[in-house]
C-alpha cells in the first residue's frame, strides 16, 4: 500500500482487539448486566389493530395478578411525557407527533397502549393477557397507493394528507435535454419492506438515584448522546443529570439509531417508582416495533444519445415510512436519500427528481444500512441494462462510457453533491479481472443454459455517501443530528492511553481502529491504548454511529485530539532534552531526538512529569495533565465507491437463484485497517444478498403484520453466502482528515444491484428483466414462464 508509506499503524491489518472478548462470551449486552436490586420488569401491550380509537383499557385484571406492581395507560399518563416531534414545519416538511403512550388513536399494530411493571418478566407477560382493550377499529391505509389516493384515510389528519415530506428539483434545461434524446428507457422498481434484524433485539434498563434525581439508562442504542437529548426534552430533565450508556450492542444497522418509546418509558417509570425498570424486547417486539425500511418505489426514466451517453434522468421516489416520523432522522431520510443517492458513479448533467414520504398504518420506517441507496442503484443499473438492450450496446461498454473518470474530479453531480474523487474505472477493471468476466462470457452459452440452470453475471458500479458532517445535516433539514463527533485522548499518569469516543460500537471494530489512529499520533502500540465508547458521561458530545461516519468523523476527532496531546508531549520532551520541538519524534513509546535513541524520554516519564509524579517539572506555562478533547466536522459528504460483480445460477425448475461467485473492488479512501473494511464489506454483501433474494416484511390489507418471527422473515444463512473476494483500491480523500472515507454500507449497496443484474443476464435468453425485490423463486419462475415485458 504505497499510499500508506508514512504510516506505521494506520493501514495495518491488525486483528481486532475486541474479538477475543466477544467470541469467548465475555461481552455484556443490556440483558447480561447484573440485575439491579428492586428491578421492575416492563412488558408492553401492543395495539392489536392497525388503526383505531381507544375507548377503554381495563387494567384491573392485570393489577390483581400477584407480582404486578403497576399498569400504565396513555389515559392515565396524560401529558406527563411530551410527544416525540422529529420534524418542524418548514419547506417540504410537515410536523407530526408521536405520543409515547397513545391515549386516543393507535396507528399501527405495535403501537404501545399499556405497560406493565412486575417483579419478574414472566409475570409481566402473564399480566398482558389480563388487560382488556376496547378499541374502535378504524379503516387503515397500508400501502403507498392507498395512502396517496383521493379521500384516503389520514394517518395524521392535522397535516391534511399522508405526505409529511416532499421535495422536488429539476436541473435547468432538463426538458430540452430529455426531448433531444435518441432513446428513452423507463421502468418502475419496487423494493419490499425490510427489517434490520440485529442479533440482539432492543432493550434498556433505567436506574434513578432518587436523592439526586439523576438517571442512568443502559440501552442497546447506536446513539447514546441523542438518546440523552431526547430524554431531557421529553421528560423535562436536565441533561446534566442524565447518563446514557450503550454497553455491548449486538448489531445496530440503523434501526437502533432511532429513539424509541420504550427507552423514554423506562426512564420515566424508574423516576416515578424510584426503582430500576428493565425492558428487554424479544424477536416479536423487534419485528413489530423496531423501524423497518426500504418500502419504496422508484419510477425512473433515462434518456440517452444514440451512442449511449446518459443525457437526463427522471426519478420519482415514493417511500412508505409507516405511522410516525422517527426521531432523530424525521420523515425524510429514505425519500431524500433515494433522490440524492441516484447520481452515483455515472456522469449525467440533467436530473429531475421528486421524492415523497408516505405515511401508512404500519410500523415506522427509518434508516437501515445503505438507506435508499441499494434500491436507487438497483433502479439505475436496471435502467442501464434496459438501455443497453434497446440501443444494442454491450452493457459493460455502456457503463465504461458513462462512468466518471478520475480527471473529472472534483465533480459536482446533477443532484448537487460534490465529490473529490472516485476510482470507478480502476475498480471496474479490477473486479472484472478478479471474477474472470471474459472467461465467464466465453463459457456462457447464448441461451445462458448449462444443464438445468441458467447462468449470468452482473456488474454494478456504486457510490456510498459517507462521513456526512454538520453542514450536510443542516441542508437536509435535520434538527437533532449534530453531524460532528468528539474524542478525548488522555495519557494516564503511568503512560498508558485512554480514549473516549462520542460514538458507540455495535461490532464494527471501533476499539481497534481508533486505537490505530491514536497510536499513529502518539507512537505507541495500539495495545497500550484503551478505547471506550457509548457512555455519555465519559465521552464528548457527538452524533453516534450510523451512516458510515465512524472512521471518517470519529476517526478524525481521535486524530485531532491525539495530535494535540502529541504536540504537548513534544513540548515537554523538547524542554527536558533541550532540543527544538520540531526535532522530536514519537516512536516506540518514547519522545526522542529524531534518529537518536539515547536522547529520549519514555511516555511514562513524560506522563509522570505531566502529573507531577516526577522530580522534573513541567515547562513554565504548561497545564497539568496530558489530555485533549477535540471535535471533527468534515465538510459536506465524502463518497466511497465500489464495483460489485456477481455470478449467479438459476434453477430452471424452481426459479431459485444461487450466488456462485462474488467479487468486490472497493475504495474507501485511506484504510485504517483492511481486515475491518473487509468485514464491513462481507457483512454488507450478506445483507444485500438477503434483500436481493429473500427478505421481506409483509402486512396484510388490514395492517396485520404477517412476518413476526424468523420463521416468516427469511434472512440468508452462512450456506447462502458465497465466498467474497475483495480488492482494496485506495484513493485518499482530499476533503477529510487523513483521507479517510466511510465503509459501512457499500457492501449492501452494491450487492443488491449486482445480484439483480446477474439475474437479468441469466434471463437474457428469455428477454425478461427484474424490476422488484426480492427475487423470490416464484417471481423468477414467473419471469421465465411468462412472455417478457415489452421494454
Amino acid at each position: 500500500m504505497p499510499g500508506n508509506a508514512p504510516f506505521r499503524h494506520i493501514g495495518r491489518p491488525m486483528p481486532r482487539t475486541e474479538d477475543a472478548r466477544l467470541l469467548a462470551g465475555g461481552a455484556a449486552f443490556v440483558d447480561d448486566l447484573p440485575e439491579l436490586p428492586g428491578t421492575l420488569h416492563m412488558a408492553c401491550m401492543r395495539s392489536p389493530v392497525a388503526h383505531g380509537r381507544i375507548r377503554e383499557i381495563d387494567t384491573s385484571g392485570a393489577l390483581g395478578l400477584p407480582g404486578v406492581h403497576a399498569v400504565l395507560t396513555g389515559a392515565e399518563l396524560g401529558d406527563r411525557i411530551a410527544p416525540m416531534v422529529a420534524d418542524r414545519d418548514k419547506a417540504g416538511f410537515r410536523e407530526t407527533r408521536r405520543d409515547i403512550l397513545p391515549a386516543d388513536t393507535v396507528r399501527f399494530v405495535g403501537d404501545t397502549i399499556a405497560v406493565v411493571l412486575a417483579d419478574d418478566p414472566y409475570v409481566a407477560e402473564d399480566a398482558l393477557s389480563l388487560i382488556v382493550a376496547d378499541i374502535e377499529e378504524l379503516e387503515p391505509v397500508v400501502a403507498i397507493d392507498a395512502a396517496l389516493a383521493d379521500g384516503a384515510v389520514l394517518v395524521h389528519p392535522e397535516i391534511g394528507d399522508n405526505i409529511p415530506f416532499s421535495i422536488a428539483q429539476t436541473t435547468e434545461g432538463f426538458e430540452a435535454a430529455f426531448a433531444a434524446a435518441a432513446a428513452v428507457v423507463s421502468d418502475v422498481f419496487t423494493s419490499t419492506r425490510l427489517a434490520g434484524v440485529a442479533m440482539e433485539p432492543r432493550g434498556c434498563v433505567a436506574q434513578v438515584d432518587v436523592g439526586l434525581d439523576s438517571l442512568t439508562l443502559w440501552s442497546s442504542t447506536q446513539v447514546p448522546h441523542l438518546l440523552r437529548l431526547a430524554i431531557a426534552e421529553l421528560l423535562d430533565w436536565p441533561e446534566s443529570r442524565l447518563r446514557v450508556i450503550a454497553p455491548d450492542v449486538g448489531g445496530g444497522f440503523g434501526p437502533k439509531a432511532h429513539v424509541y418509546p420504550e427507552e423514554i418509558l423506562c426512564a420515566y417509570l424508574a423516576r416515578r417508582h424510584g426503582r430500576p425498570v428493565k425492558w428487554i424486547g424479544d424477536r416479536q417486539d423487534d419485528f413489530l416495533t423496531t423501524t423497518h425500511a426500504r418500502d419504496s418505489r422508484f419510477a425512473v426514466e433515462m434518456a440517452l444519445s444514440a451512442d449511449g451517453d446518459i443525457l437526463a434522468v427522471r426519478n420519482h421516489v415514493d417511500v412508505n415510512i409507516g405511522a410516525y416520523a422517527c426521531f432523530p432522522f424525521g420523515a425524510n431520510a429514505e425519500a431524500g436519500g433515494g433522490a440524492i443517492y441516484m447520481p452515483g458513479a455515472y456522469r449525467f448533467a440533467h436530473y429531475d427528481f421528486r421524492a415523497r414520504s408516505v405515511m401508512t398504518h404500519t410500523a415506522p420506517a427509518g434508516v437501515y444500512r445503505g438507506v435508499a441507496a441499494p434500491v436507487a442503484h438497483f433502479a439505475f443499473e436496471g435502467l442501464l441494462d434496459r438501455a443497453a438492450r434497446k440501443l444494442g450496446l454491450d452493457p459493460l461498454a455502456l457503463r465504461r462510457r458513462n462512468l466518471l473518470r478520475p480527471d473529472e474530479y472534483p465533480h459536482v453531480n446533477a443532484a448537487g453533491i460534490r465529490s473529490d474523487g472516485g476510482s470507478h474505472h480502476e475498480c471496474l477493471e479490477r473486479a472484472l479481472a478478479a471474477i474472470d468476466h471474459d472467461g465467464f462470457r466465453a463459457a456462457q452459452p447464448a441461451d445462458r443454459r448449462i444443464g438445468g440452470r441458467l447462468v449470468g453475471i452482473g456488474v454494478a458500479c456504486i457510490t456510498e455517501h459517507t462521513g456526512q458532517g454538520a453542514s450536510r445535516y443542516r441542508t437536509r433539514g435535520l434538527l437533532r443530528v449534530p453531524g460532528m463527533e468528539g474524542a478525548t485522548v488522555r495519557i494516564e499518569s503511568d503512560g498508558n492511553v485512554s480514549v473516549a469516543i462520542s460514538q458507540s460500537t455495535q461490532g464494527q471494530g471501533h476499539l481497534t481502529a481508533f486505537a490505530q489512529v491514536v497510536a499513529e499520533s502518539l507512537g505507541v502500540d495500539p495495545e497500550q491504548i484503551t478505547v471506550s465508547e457509548g457512555d455519555t458521561a465519559l465521552s464528548p458530545f457527538g452524533s453516534g454511529t450510523f451512516a458510515s461516519r465512524g472512521a471518517v468523523i470519529a476517526g478524525g476527532a481521535a486524530y485531532r485530539a491525539s495530535q494535540e496531546v502529541a504536540a504537548k508531549i513534544r513540548r515537554i520532551a523538547a524542554h527536558h532534552l533541550e532540543v527544538a520541538e520540531g526535532d522530536i519524534e514519537l516512536v516506540e513509546g518514547h519522545a526522542r531526538l529524531k534518529g537518536v535513541r539515547q536522547m529520549a524520554l519514555s511516555l511514562r516519564e513524560i506522563a509522570g512529569i505531566a502529573h507531577s509524579l516526577d522530580p522534573r517539572a513541567l515547562p513554565e506555562g504548561e497545564e497539568y495533565g496530558l489530555e485533549a478533547r477535540r471535535f471533527y466536522d468534515p465538510p459536506g459528504v465524502v463518497l466511497s465507491n465500489a464495483v460489485h460483480a456477481a455470478c449467479v445460477s438459476i434453477d430452471t425448475d424452481t426459479g431459485q437463484v444461487r450466488v456462485e461467485r462474488y467479487v468486490v473492488a472497493h475504495d474507501c479512501g485511506r484504510i485504517i485497517n483492511p481486515l475491518i473494511v473487509a468485514g464491513q464489506v462481507h457483512g454488507g454483501v450478506a445483507q444485500g444478498l438477503g434483500q436481493a433474494l429473500m427478505e421481506g416484511v409483509h402486512y396484510d390489507e388490514t395492517g396485520q403484520l404477517l412476518t413476526t418471527q424468523l420463521l416468516d422473515y427469511i434472512v440468508p444463512l452462512a450456506a447462502d453466502v458465497p465466498d467474497i473476494a475483495l480488492c482494496h483500491v485506495e484513493t485518499p480523500s482530499s476533503d477529510t482528515l487523513l483521507g479517510i472515507k466511510g465503509a459501512g454500507e457499500g457492501g449492501v449497496i452494491g450487492a443488491v444491484p449486482a445480484i439483480a443484474l446477474a439475474v437479468n443476464d441469466a434471463l437474457a435468453g428469455r428477454g425478461a428483466m427484474v424490476s422488484r425485490l426480492p427475487l423470490s423463486p416464484e417471481y423468477i419462475l414467473s419471469l421465465m414462464t411468462m412472455p417478457a415485458p415489452g421494454r
Binding site: 418478566p121 414472566y122 407477560e125 402473564d126 424479544d282 424477536r283 416479536q284 434453477d651 425448475d653 424452481t654 426459479g655 431459485q656 429473500m694 421481506g696 409483509h698 404477517l706 412476518t707 418471527q709 420463521l711 416468516d712 427469511i714 440468508p716 444463512l717 450456506a719 447462502d720 423470490s776 423463486p777 416464484e778 419462475l781
Partner: protein
C-alpha cells in the same frame, strides 16, 4: 417470548412417563428435544399445562433392528438416526431426510419421534414415513396401539395422538436390497423448510409409493402418480414425461387443500412439485438399477 407457567415432570423410564401422563390433565405434553415445542411455548402458541420430560428415559433412547423393522424410541435424537450405520445402510431415505431436517445443532437435540409428532407440513420425515409405510407405536398407561403413518397425520401440527397417549416409538420396514428411493425438495434457502418436496419409495415388486410434503397440511400420498410411475420412460427429463407427471399430479391434487403462503403460492408449489417428482422418480429408478447391478 416467555412461556406461560407449566408443571415439569422429569421421567426416568417410559412406564414412569406414561404414569405421569395419566396423572396429568389433557393439556399435558411430552418434552423430548423441545426444538419445535419450546419455540411454540415461548410464543405462547402452545401452553401445555404440564411437560413430561422424557430426556431421562434411557429405555426410549434405543435404535432396535428386529424382524425386518428398525424401531426408533421416542428419545432417539435425529443426529443419532442420521449417523447410524444400520439406518444409512437399510433406511437410506430416512438418513437422507434427517440430513435435511433443521441444522446439526437442532438435530443433536431434536428427536425422530418429535418431528413426527409435531407434524409440520414442511417436514421431510412424515412424508418419508408415509412413503416407506412406517408404523407409529402409540402407548398410554396399560395400552398400546399401532397406527400406520398414513393414518397418523391429520393436518398441520395435528396427529391422531390422543390425550394420555404418547408416540413411544416409530418403526420403519427395512428396505430390501433392490429398493430405490428418491427425495427432492426446494426451499427459500439452502437448508430451509421445504416449500415443496417429494419422497419416492420404489420396491422391487414394482410397487411405488410417493408422498408429497410442504404442499398440503398433511403428507399427501399421490396414487395417480404412483400408478403412472411404472409406465414412465426411464429417462426422466423429457417434456413428454414432465407433462405426464404434471397431469398425474394435477389429478392427485384435485380438490386438495394446497398450502398458500407469503413465500410461495399454491400455484407455485404445485408447479415445482411436478418437477421435483420427476427428479425424485429419476433418482429412485437410478438407485434401484444400481442396487440390481451390485
Amino acid at each position: 417470548m416467555r412461556p406461560a407457567s407449566f408443571r415439569h415432570h422429569p421421567a426416568r423410564s417410559v412406564d414412569e412417563a406414561l404414569t405421569l401422563l395419566a396423572s396429568e390433565d389433557e393439556d399435558a405434553r411430552i418434552l423430548a428435544g423441545g426444538q419445535s415445542l419450546v419455540p411454540l411455548m415461548n410464543l405462547r402458541m402452545a401452553q401445555p399445562s404440564a411437560l413430561i420430560d422424557i430426556n431421562g428415559c434411557d429405555d426410549l433412547g434405543r435404535i432396535d433392528e428386529a424382524g425386518g423393522w428398525i424401531e426408533f424410541g421416542a428419545r432417539v435424537r435425529q443426529r443419532e438416526g442420521e449417523l447410524s450405520t444400520a439406518v444409512r445402510a437399510r433406511l437410506p431415505m430416512v438418513a437422507a431426510a434427517l440430513e435435511l431436517n433443521g441444522h446439526p445443532a437442532t438435530r443433536h437435540r431434536g428427536t425422530i419421534c418429535g418431528t413426527l409428532a409435531h407434524a409440520d407440513p414442511s417436514a421431510e420425515l412424515p412424508a418419508v414415513a408415509v412413503a416407506l409405510g412406517a408404523e407409529m407405536v402409540l402407548r398410554r398407561q396399560g395400552a398400546c396401539r399401532i397406527v400406520p403413518a398414513e393414518a397418523f397425520f391429520l393436518g398441520a401440527l395435528e396427529t391422531c395422538i390422543e390425550p394420555g397417549e404418547m408416540l413411544a416409538a416409530v418403526r420403519f420396514p427395512v428396505q430390501p436390497a433392490r429398493a430405490g428411493w428418491g427425495l427432492a425438495e426446494t426451499g427459500l434457502r439452502r437448508h430451509d423448510l421445504a416449500l415443496a418436496g417429494i419422497a419416492v419409495a420404489m420396491l422391487p415388486a414394482g410397487v411405488t409409493r410417493i408422498c408429497a410434503f410442504g404442499i398440503t397440511p398433511e403428507p399427501l400420498r399421490l396414487p395417480t402418480l404412483e400408478a403412472a410411475a411404472d409406465d414412465l420412460p426411464r429417462s426422466g427429463g423429457t417434456p413428454a414425461t414432465q407433462a405426464r407427471i404434471a397431469e398425474a399430479l394435477a389429478a392427485d391434487l384435485e380438490g386438495a387443500d394446497l398450502v398458500d403462503t407469503l413465500h410461495a403460492s399454491a400455484r407455485y408449489r404445485q408447479q415445482v412439485t411436478a418437477t421435483l417428482a420427476a427428479r425424485a422418480l429419476a433418482d429412485a429408478r437410478q438407485r434401484a438399477s444400481q442396487e440390481t447391478a451390485t
